[in-house]
């Protein structure tokens, strides 16, 4: 594109766009993502929303960020620290500057550094002038003014002209990384089809930003990140919440059943409700309940009546659902509980990620109450485990937890779109009427009872939360019966260990040390293992998607290593499970910062181990 600078070839780069929530940073980030993905880069993104709906403009709590990692190789995280930071105002600078890597490129909208704005961001002096950004390569651009000039011809009012700033900035970054603007130009045309003057202004801003970067030679170096060699196929970008919703919809088709999703809005799970609510034509029923208890109870009712029943929430909502989950355990009905985890305890930090509800899923109910626990490892895997959750719940007549998290939910990665014909059929069947019917008769292999659905003549029966007699299902206070039923419930879940893929080891299998993780930390841990292996550190890794039961080969794998590191975003929950179940010593590694694990910190930790 440009002829004026040499382009340095990079294997990968991490760019973070940041500005006020009103500045359109999520949109800018998404455009950059789509363009890069189309170029053939592997990508991973992570948005960082403000906790408030509209915090006061210009303040730090109002900052919105979007980080994208794009690469010519396989990548697995949105990256620890950006190498390029775009800060549209002082608050954005303040909120993000500490993350920028030393010597990184800082592009600021210098127009926004007014006294008033500095004050809103709680800066006493102008950071662009007081030496505090000296460590970085700072590029100050009067983006506001330049944008105004660029869109002048459209005659837009100042306020609307202002809104085009983000495209100006995007134009600059497109230049920096040698990206073609056509996709974004097309998108602008489509998006603003009904408001051509806005479309024109945004186009002008984008092109002007791009040309500005090209002609003014503000960049001494510019870069290029060539395509990755990804598996062939059609791709789209997908967030964890989208993948979860689509996975559920697919599962319903594969099982040929109506899907029922009972939910009460809660961050960061609400989008799954929103996605599914738009899929009425898939025979999907979404039920926005009056609270989490009603949501799960309605789902249990739907399960009783034969639907594929799901309920979705985040940690505090799981607290409220716990009594009813026990009812599903006791009545042995299939139920999927989606927990998009966030930082806790209590209300915690609703917009921040954490993996601290594992033991809640495992033990957070009265009595001995075993459930199945699954945890997707990447945004796209949410699709796979949504389907898997329904397969297991219906085959074993058991509640299944899916532990997603805020990072997976909102983070995006390219998803190789599957051929629907390649997806497994999920065989689900009701008990047919027969004279010997017993509600709690079990399949000898799976120990599951049958699904006897109201509407079937001859199978009329009663179930409930009181202990039931083996077979007949009548209320029973018999001591031996209670013991037997307790063990059935436990054993039924335990047997699933043999019906799931074995745990796989990656990295240097011959190492002495194994690092374990689960769920959403996969990208960070995998990247750390890769980097360490490349830098001469022998290390193997294994990542759990099945937390209860663990895959059947888990113990065998762990026995092969002298040291087992357990890395997670909590104060040691998988660590408890491993020790409680396998009785082996572990080396825990934990961060509880409301953020994904930092690869660099993890690498440093492992290198520091004696």
């Amino acid at each position: 594109m440009s002829k004026t600078v040499e382009r340095t070839l990079l294997e990968n780069a991490i760019v973070r766009f940041s500005g006020d929530s009103g500045d359109g940073m999520q949109l800018t980030g998404t455009q950059f993502t789509t363009t890069s993905a189309n170029l053939g880069n592997d990508i991973a993104t992570f948005p960082d929303f403000p906790a408030e709906i509209r915090a006061p403009a210009g303040t730090v709590p109002g900052v919105s960020g979007f980080q994208i990692h794009f690469s010519s190789r396989d990548i697995h995280t949105p990256g620890d620290r950006p190498s390029v930071l775009i800060a549209m105002n002082p608050a954005a600078l303040k909120a993000n500057i500490d993350d920028l890597e030393n010597g990184g490129l800082l592009i600021v909208n210098s127009d926004a550094f007014s006294k008033a704005n500095l004050k809103k961001a709680d800066y006493e002096t102008n950071p662009l002038e007081d030496g505090s950004v000296e460590r970085y390569r700072v590029i100050k651009i009067p983006i506001t003014e330049l944008t105004h000039r660029a869109v002048e011809e459209t005659g837009l009012a100042k306020k609307e002209a202002d809104r085009c700033k983000n495209f100006y900035a995007l134009g600059i970054v497109y230049y920096l990384f040698d990206r073609n603007m056509n996709l974004t130009l097309d998108w602008i045309n489509r998006k603003f089809a009904k408001r051509p003057e806005i479309a024109a202004a945004n186009r002008l801003a984008l092109i002007a930003g791009n040309s500005y970067a090209d002609t003014t030679e503000i960049f001494t170096t510019a870069y290029s990140v060539p395509p990755a060699s990804l598996t062939k196929g059609k791709y789209r970008s997908i967030t964890g919440n989208q993948a979860t919703a689509i996975g559920f919809a697919a599962a319903a088709k594969l099982a040929k059943r109506t899907l029922f999703y009972g939910s009460y809005p809660i961050t960061p799970a609400s989008d799954v409700l929103h996605e599914l609510a738009a899929l009425r034509h898939f025979d999907i029923q979404t039920f926005q309940a009056e609270d989490e208890i009603a949501a799960v109870c309605a789902a249990i009712g739907a399960a009783f009546a034969g639907s594929l029943a799901l309920t979705g929430t985040s940690g505090p909502g799981v607290c409220l659902k716990s009594e009813a989950i026990n009812l599903a355990i006791m009545t042995e009905l299939p139920l999927v509980i989606l927990n998009v985890q966030r930082a806790g305890p209590s209300t915690g930090m609703p917009t921040k990620t954490e993996q601290s509800d594992l033991l809640q899923a495992m033990f957070g109910r009265n009595g001995d109450s075993p459930v199945v626990i699954l945890a997707p490892a990447t945004p796209a895997e949410c699709f796979t485990y949504a389907i898997e959750s329904i397969r297991i719940a219906t085959k074993y007549m058991v509640p299944v937890f899916i532990l997603s998290d805020g990072y997976l939910a909102n983070g995006a990665e390219p998803w190789r779109i599957p051929d629907e014909n390649d997806l497994p059929h999920i065989p689900v069947s009701n008990v047919a009427a027969h004279s010997e019917f017993l509600p709690f008769e079990r399949n000898p292999e799976t120990l599951a009872r049958g699904w006897a659905v109201p509407g079937t003549a001859g199978l009329e029966h009663r179930i409930g939360g009181l202990e039931k007699s083996d077979g007949k299902g009548n209320i029973s206070y018999d001591p031996d019966n209670h013991e037997r039923m307790t063990h059935y419930r436990k054993e039924k879940v335990a047997r699933i260990a043999h019906d799931v893929p074995p745990l796989e080891v990656y990295g240097d299998e011959t190492a002495d040390t194994l690092i374990l993780g689960w769920g959403g930390t996969y990208g960070s841990i995998f990247t750390a293992v890769e980097w360490l292996n490349q830098h001469g550190v022998k290390l193997a890794g294994a990542h759990f998607r099945y937390l209860n039961p663990f895959p059947a080969n888990t113990q065998d794998i762990m026995r092969q290593y002298k040291r087992v590191i357990v890395a997670e975003i909590n104060t040691g929950q998988l660590d408890w499970l491993i020790k409680g179940q396998f009785n082996i010593p572990t080396t825990p590694y934990q961060q509880v910062r409301g953020k994904p694990l930092l690869v660099s910190d993890l690498c440093e930790f492992i290198q520091g181990l004696k």
């Binding site: 970008s237 898939f282 208890i293 009712g301 399960a303 034969g306």
Partner: protein, 336 residues
């Protein structure tokens, strides 16, 4: 499979031994319900009884239909899921004054406003029976129980008023001492399309013995109750006939005579303005006779009809569900 035509009351009796206290009002209610079931003409397999927890909530075990004895207070939510999953089912919710108005008050409110087509029978014995006799949200102030040895200091609520505030489309009251009346009301409830709410005055012989005797004992019944009937004036009284009059500023009870004032109220359960059923609901013993029968019944689309309509429309508009289309929504790109 529809043996329904020939079903008898006894076909609805399950093989479980009924385990309420001897003399409990629940027996009569069970009997009335079983009778109504036989008349309903709905096959047994299409009937589901769903309850919470309480003495009353053991009900499903005694019905030879599908049944679900769930958890405390949550039966309306569970029933919602059942009905949405299969709108063909005849769904009955059994709850108590504690189950339905204490822990479960909110679910009751919301199922009513959503107008899910289920029938809710609230057994009001003004006490927590199963947990051995604490006061409930309908208990009279001053009631001495184990948890209120010096007398309850809570002000009771009136289930009918709560149901009306929840915009219920069908609201009625009946009482365990009158199987025939119960059967009539249950039948009306069954036939109403939308949530039907029925309060049943129920005698707990152990913890709140004869609490309704002032109202429904045979000796006083005709003077202390008023049986609502559409088109009929609100007149009651065994010997002397009295009427309920609206006099501009409020309700009064007056003797019927040639000199009675204007304003004798005439019952109309289909009255759309909320004030009429509310006015009825404010009639409480001893100031007024206690109304029993159907307070309100109006037509309003049910939630499940609207939901299934949306599904139908979506299918028409977007075509049948294609996973392929769903997967490929948004921007896609090719690699390789």
């Amino acid at each position: 499979m529809t043996e329904s035509a020939t079903l008898q009351k006894k076909d609805f009796q399950s093989d479980q031994i009924v385990r309420w206290c001897p003399g409990c009002g629940d027996y009569a209610i069970l009997s009335a319900v079983q009778g109504v079931m036989a008349e309903l003409g709905v096959p047994r397999e299409n009937i589901v009884f769903i309850s919470g927890i309480g003495c009353s909530s053991r009900f499903p075990y005694y019905m030879n239909t599908y049944g679900f004895h769930t958890i405390h207070g949550r039966a309306p939510a569970l029933a919602t899921g059942v009905k949405l999953a299969n709108p063909n089912l005849s769904v009955w919710v059994i709850t108590g004054d504690g189950d339905g108005l204490s822990i479960g008050g909110n679910h009751l409110l919301h199922v009513l406003r959503r107008n899910i087509d289920v029938n809710i029978l609230l057994f009001n014995n003004k006490v927590y029976g199963l947990t051995k006799g604490q006061y409930s949200p309908t208990s009279d102030q001053g009631m001495k129980t184990k948890s209120s040895p010096d007398g309850a200091i809570e002000y009771p609520i009136n289930p009918i008023r709560v149901a009306l505030a929840a915009e219920a489309s069908f609201v009625a009251r009946t009482y365990d001492a009158n199987i025939k009346h119960m059967a009539e009301v249950f039948m009306e409830a069954a036939q109403h399309k939308g949530t039907s709410f029925v309060e049943i005055l129920q005698n707990c012989v152990i913890f709140n013995k004869d609490v309704f005797d002032d109202v429904y004992d045979r000796k006083v019944r005709d003077d202390h109750m008023i049986h609502l009937a559409d088109g009929e004036p609100l007149i009651f009284g065994s010997e002397e006939k009295k009427g309920v009059f609206f006099t501009g500023s409020g309700l009064t009870v007056q003797k019927i005579s040639d000199s009675s004032p204007e304003g004798l109220m005439v019952h109309n359960s289909k009255e759309h303005a909320p004030f009429y059923p509310n006015m009825l609901a404010s009639m409480e013993y001893p100031a007024y006779p206690v109304p029993v029968g159907v307070f309100k019944r109006i037509a309003r689309p049910t939630y499940e009809t609207m939901l299934h309509d949306q599904i139908k429309v979506a299918k028409q508009r977007k075509g049948d569900a294609s996973l392929k289309k769903l997967f490929h929504a948004g921007e896609t790109w090719d690699i390789g």
